[in-house]
Symmetry: C2
Subunit: 205 residues, 2 copies
């Protein structure tokens, strides 16, 4: 199946995120123009994206919110079986697990790896925490293909090489270290310090 463009995936994910919050307002329907205005994007884009999903709305009521969430999740293959691990279980790792545990589509986090005896052999949100020594065998046994990196140290290059050798093909980098992956591997990054520098630089006078 052909992949959607990156921007479409981002927009669909934004609709989903907004609708997840909207559903708590006890409004079962939403108009595409309201979705567009809340996200400050062109209503034409929204309608085109919703057509792509194959959902249709009612003229008088708009779109069924629950159905939209479901169709977007299907289209984006949310929780379609790719198994994920979190490497490092400090505050960043815990924040990530907490967010994925709270989301209604399971992100399939299968394992957490950490060095702290306080966490090892315990479960958090039903996800077991293993020692780093167990990483190779667990990634292989559980067929894990995605990794979330939450802590950087001098061994990071070695870790990346190991992950790739183990069959990991996508990495979400939440550390402050700059990563690069061989072509063919997908990298998502978030650098909190860059975000904060931009915020401080561009806000106010």
């Amino acid at each position: 199946m052909e992949k959607l463009p990156q921007k479409t995936v981002e927009r669909l994910s934004q609709y989903r995120r907004l609708l997840m919050r909207y559903q708590y307002l006890d409004k079962p329907y939403i108009f595409s123009r309201d979705l567009a205005s809340m996200l400050k994007i062109n209503p034409v884009h929204v309608r085109r994206d919703l057509m792509l999903l194959g959902v249709s709305g009612s003229h008088s009521k708009g779109y069924d919110v629950q159905n939209l969430i479901r169709q977007i999740s299907l289209k984006l293959e949310c929780g379609a079986g790719k198994s994920t691990c979190i490497i490092g279980f400090g505050h960043t790792g815990r924040a990530a697990l907490e967010i994925f545990a709270a989301d209604f589509t399971p992100m399939n986090v299968k394992a957490v790896f950490d060095t702290s005896p306080k966490s090892i052999n315990k479960s958090f949100y039903n996800v077991p925490c293993y020692s780093m020594e167990k990483m190779v065998s667990i990634i292989e046994e559980q067929n894990i293909s995605l990794a979330i990196l939450t802590e950087a140290d001098e061994e990071l290059e070695n870790l990346i090489n190991l992950l790739i050798a183990l069959g990991i093909n996508g990495i979400l980098n939440l550390t402050s270290a700059q990563l690069s992956l061989p072509s063919g591997y997908h990298l998502e990054e978030f650098d909190l310090i860059t975000a904060m520098i931009k915020l401080a630089y561009f806000s106010g006078k």
Copy 2:
């Protein structure tokens, strides 16, 4: 003073991030072409950016790493006095504080606000944690202009309106809620779930 373009700020921040890591390799100098190749960007861009900083390198040795970090930080006005608060001190708030505390330029985090009696009236990395009730007075007294949001609830809209009324002009949104700010206010966002959806969608077959 005229602001740099957004892309330049991002690139400078990337150099800084890479150099911060590079300095631990005990290599005091770096060539612009190495910086470019590590970041997979055009060397012409790198040289233009470094000229903008007013630093010059040696033909045989390259650029002084420590000086580059310092000049980039100056240019980006890192820690130039804008005071920040973190709202919500769960794992996400703690991860943010930890990252800013570890960075060599102080991001001027002046206060953390939380509802948990376990955290209130304690200090973390020398940053005091206050109850939410103290938010108005502390933001005013400490002249805080930036806020990092780490937890979303139904009161989020009210919170945003209050922050704006108190003079906050930039927000880093680390919650999974979709925000929009009036024009003139700067918003940086990171949505972990969108990042993870993109990662799962685009990696592998």
